[in-house]
């Protein structure tokens, strides 16, 4: 257990500032693959700034739950952000079992997004909400069993301990276990952030969307909060993947954090490549992908056990 220190600001500040950039990187990668120039890499910042300057239009059907949705979502995702270590920088809060709180803050964010969607009484938003809860219920075991594999590897039941034990050496000599966890978490990262192959953020049909359709009725500052929360969630789950695959420790914290941020940018590029080269899965196939991720995580756990024994 550690008390919050100034160092831990280095784990949080880059996320708060740079998270919307990841969406820009993904979109730029997709534009390059599509042979387009694409939108500015800072477009998400422009969008958020513009939305914050607007008024609001609320549906007559909605109640206070709809208005509470974006606020609770953003606050809960911020709660998750302060639990994640970045590079060598410690998280603001670290204690045994913090990984459970991380998963459940994201769960709270999702719960309120779903309720806000149902509050509009729209069939489209109800449909999106229904898919969201289905897929996230399957992503949850993949995330928590995957983290259990890291816990086994490090013999420490906290994120700080689990990620501190991952070194380049462990990555190269420790067998495929860590890569399996990374693969499982990558699937969770794609599914939870509504990316291809689970959801297509750029689709133009309400019928086929998941996340985008749930937030159709939000506008103005509310939508700014939702967009910012979505980019922070991308950052949080991305950090869990990058923490495994880029465990570089130079000894200088600033350099470590910079490398981790570069890793996140690289993950965004990979996401863009996946989105450019893959089609979206049929909705009935998505559960197979998520269950496969849980299986990979379980396999990693078995390997970690053999390694420890």
């Amino acid at each position: 257990m550690t008390a919050p220190t100034l160092d831990s600001l280095a784990a949080v500040l880059p996320g708060l500032v740079l998270a919307p950039l990841l969406l820009g990187v993904i979109n730029r990668t997709k534009a390059i693959f599509g042979g387009r120039r694409g939108q500015p890499i800072l477009q998400t910042y422009y969008d958020i700034a513009k939305l914050l300057r607007k008024g609001a239009v609320y549906s007559r059907t909605t109640s206070w739950v709809f208005r509470a949705g974006p606020i609770v979502t953003l606050a809960a995702v911020l709660g998750a952000l302060v639990l994640v270590p970045l590079g060598g920088a410690p998280a603001v809060m670290s204690f045994p079992g913090d990984l459970v709180l991380l998963a459940y803050w994201l769960g709270l964010a999702r719960f309120f997004t779903v309720l806000a969607a149902l509050d509009t009484g729209s069939a489209f938003e109800g449909m999106g909400a229904s898919r969201e809860v289905q897929f996230s219920a399957l992503a949850e075991p993949a995330l928590l069993v995957g983290l259990a594999a890291l816990v086994k590897q490090a013999a420490a039941p906290s994120l700080a301990g689990a990620y501190a034990a991952i070194t380049p050496q462990a990555l190269w000599t420790g067998g495929p276990g860590l890569f399996l966890v990374a693969a499982a978490l990558l699937v969770v990262y794609l599914a939870e952030n509504a990316r291809i192959p689970v959801d297509d953020p750029n689709t133009h049909l309400e019928l086929t969307m998941i996340h985008e359709v749930m937030v159709l009725d939000h506008g103005g500052p509310d939508f700014a909060m939702i967009t910012y929360a979505a980019s922070l969630k991308l950052w949080v789950l991305g950090s869990l993947v990058v923490g495994i695959l880029v465990p570089v420790r130079t000894g200088c914290m600033a350099a470590d954090v910079a490398i981790a941020v570069a890793g996140l940018a690289a993950l965004a590029v990979v996401t863009g490549i996946i989105e450019s080269t893959m089609a979206r899965l049929r909705l009935v196939r998505v559960p197979h992908l998520l269950v496969a991720a849980t299986v990979l995580a379980t396999l990693a756990l078995v390997l970690a056990w053999r390694h420890a024994a």
Binding site: D98, L118, D119
Partner: protein
């Protein structure tokens, strides 16, 4: 202890007075409910006192008793009893207050005095189950509990499904009790008395007898608690009862099964690892299948009843991981798992009672519990809506509410067992982690459905279009329980430490080892409380920011965006059935939903209809065939029993002759 006994006397006296005064509904209600509320508060205070005070005299009443098998009429309140007594008294007081208004609709049509008599009897018998220190007394109280709740379930016996539900409950309950009788006689040993002090020697015998006793306890008490597959009475009986009774049954009465199991474990000494594994498996199956069946239900109270099965599963997972830890000599894992399971007993009691009371308010206002006929109640019933929302978030295990605290403890026990414990213990942890994660996600889905469809959007039918918020007597208990959900989330670190003595009495593990294990949990929960505080500040801050941003700008109201369609109606909203359909479809192999679909035909199709129903898998495929076979076999016995007096005389003569021949031999 004397406060607790006084409370029992008050409640029983009030119940009898209600029975005597049953000709006057309002008098009977005042007497019955008044004594239940007063006695409940008294008893809750007494039990908190008894839990917090350092070990007092173990038995307050101890009189020689010449009942069957001897022993003494002995009552006592140790930590474990006091913990459960707080729930019994506290929740029965709140539910009674709620019942005064809820039952008003039946005034003049039903005998309310009788109903309150059974209510108070149920409360008293549950209190006696917790206090009994003699097996015979325990079983008498247990039976009184089953019978009084059976009569409470039968309150609306003019509805055809109610007597059937009551019958299922009665049969299940007695089959469970039969096993308990065997269990107690076994623990009493040859010619021993049924005193619990005598049971304590049972562990020293060792051998397979202990394992047999464990299995008997799991099935016998599990029937009451609602372990799958002996849960089948639960989704029948709970929806049939009046809502304040469902709240008490689902919140507290089924927990008596957990109490009995835990109490039995104290007699069995250090457990075998496979006992813990059994509980982990039962917990995982009950939890996952419970929530899946809940998702497939269309009736709110049936849905909630299946969630009770799910939460009993979570409790059992905690106890199971704790038991494996206990048996394998890891006091930290044992303490965290058992404390998590026990704390979930209390937390589930709070939020599940609240949910059933909320369902009662919906029924009261909208006259239906069919989720797909409801909608938009949130704006008409703001208090019911917000308390139901708090309970929904709590039962889904979301921070910063009480459900998260107990699930977190079970998770922490599991992750610690994964981190550095041997495979047999760690694997139990892995099963618990995977099951809890899946249960958590599905429970959130189910309560997004229940809350979202009932309270949000627009009314889907005429039900509830004219709904009005319920009165203060129904609102107040819901508000208190919702506050308890929040308080239980924020007081987590203290509650865990308070459970230390309970776990120590239960396991007999060294007190400091247990305290160390729980201190680690308490430390983590301290961080979580800090995070929750920051979360609340953030929510308030963001709300303020938005208010400042929107000040002076245009904030308009418009219709919901529906892709430019010009004539949307409330019937076009997504329904609960469609919301849950993808998950039900995904798990159709176990759920086996039945669908009835009359397809529209022709160019100008006439009426068509579509219906889905998900009957209980175990009820349909296991118990119905078993009981069908049993009843077929019994039917053959009927040839002996046909009402012809001459034949009966012949039986008598034959029997006498046989005895005579036997004597002559």
């Amino acid at each position: 202890m004397s406060l607790i006994l006084l409370a029992i006397l008050v409640i029983m006296a009030g119940g009898l007075a209600a029975l005597v005064g049953c000709r006057h509904s309002s008098l009977a209600t005042a007497l019955g409910a008044g004594s239940a509320v007063f006695g409940g508060v008294l008893g809750a205070v007494g039990s908190v006192w008894s839990l917090l005070s350092p070990a007092g005299p173990p038995a307050a009443v101890d009189a020689p008793w010449n009942a069957m098998l001897g022993g003494s009429l002995s009552l006592g309140a140790d930590g474990l009893s006091s913990f459960f007594l707080i729930l019994v008294f506290g929740l029965s007081a709140l539910a009674a207050l709620y019942g005064t208004e809820y039952l008003r609709a039946w005034r003049g049509r039903k005998n309310l005095g009788l109903s309150w008599f059974f209510y108070n009897t149920l409360v008293v018998s549950m209190a006696l189950v917790c206090l009994a220190r003699n097996g015979y007394l325990f079983l008498v109280a247990w039976e009184a509990m089953a019978l009084s709740s059976y009569f409470l379930v039968l309150f609306e016996d003019e509805r055809p499904e109610v007597p059937r539900a009551g019958w299922t409950y009665l049969v299940a309950s007695h089959l469970g009790t039969a096993l308990l009788l065997v269990l107690f006689l076994m623990m009493a040993g040859q010619g021993g008395s049924l005193d619990f002090t005598n049971f304590a020697d049972f562990a020293s015998h060792g051998g397979p007898a202990l394992s047999i006793a464990f299995v008997l306890a799991v099935i016998g008490f599990g029937t009451k608690a609602g372990f799958m597959p002996v849960h089948v009475w639960l989704p029948e009986a709970h929806p049939a009862a009046p809502s304040h009774v469902s709240a008490l049954m689902s919140g507290v009465m089924i927990k008596m099964g957990i109490y009995g199991l835990v109490r039995t474990l104290t007699f069995l000494g250090t457990p075998e690892p496979w006992w813990g594994w059994t509980l982990v498996s039962i917990g995982a199956v009950s939890g996952v299948l419970g929530v899946l069946f809940a998702l497939a239900q269309h009736d709110l109270k049936r849905l909630l009843a299946y969630h009770s099965v799910e939460n009993i599963g979570i409790i059992t997972l905690g106890l199971g991981v704790g038991l494996v830890g206990w048996s394998m000599g890891s006091p930290a894992v044992a303490a965290l798992g058992l404390a998590g399971g026990l704390l979930h007993v209390a937390n589930h009691a709070v939020f599940k009672s609240l949910l059933f009371l909320g369902a009662g308010a919906v029924k009261h206002a909208a006259h239906t519990l069919e989720i797909d006929s409801l909608g938009g109640l949130g704006r008409r019933m703001p208090w019911t809506a917000i308390t139901f929302l708090v309970a929904s978030a709590a039962i889904s295990g979301l921070p910063p509410l009480n459900g998260f605290v107990s699930e977190f403890l079970v998770y922490l026990a599991s992750y610690r067992s994964v981190a550095d414990q041997p495979l047999l213990l760690g694997a139990a942890g892995v099963v618990a982690i995977a099951a809890l994660a899946l249960i958590g996600g599905l429970a959130a889905a189910c309560f997004a459905k229940a809350f979202g469809i009932i309270f949000l959007g627009e009314p889907r039918s005429d039900h509830g279009r004219e709904a009005r918020e319920v009165g203060l007597a129904m609102r107040l208990p819901m508000i208190i329980l919702a506050a308890a959900c929040v308080a239980g989330g924020l007081a987590g670190p203290l509650l865990v430490v308070a459970l230390g003595p309970v776990v120590t009495t239960m396991t007999g593990l060294p007190a400091d080892a247990v305290a160390d294990g729980l201190a680690a949990g308490s430390g983590s929960l301290g961080y979580i409380v800090a995070a929750a505080a920051v979360f609340f500040v953030l929510v308030a801050g963001l709300a303020l920011v938005r208010r400042l941003l929107l000040a002076g700008r245009s904030v308009e109201e418009a219709g919901t965006w529906d892709c430019g369609y010009v004539a949307p109606t409330a019937r076009m909203q997504y329904t609960a059935s469609s919301f849950a359909q993808p998950i039900v479809r995904m798990f159709r192999a176990v759920l086996r939903p039945k669908r009835h679909f009359k397809q529209p035909v022709g160019l100008l199709p006439g009426a068509s209809d579509f219906e889905t129903k998900t009957p209980d898998m175990f009820s349909e495929n296991v118990w119905r065939p078993v009981f069908g076979y049993a009843s077929g076999a019994m039917a053959r016995m009927r040839q002996l029993q046909h009402g012809r007096v001459q034949m009966y005389v012949l039986y008598l003569v034959l029997a006498l002759l046989a005895l005579l021949l036997w004597r002559l031999r």
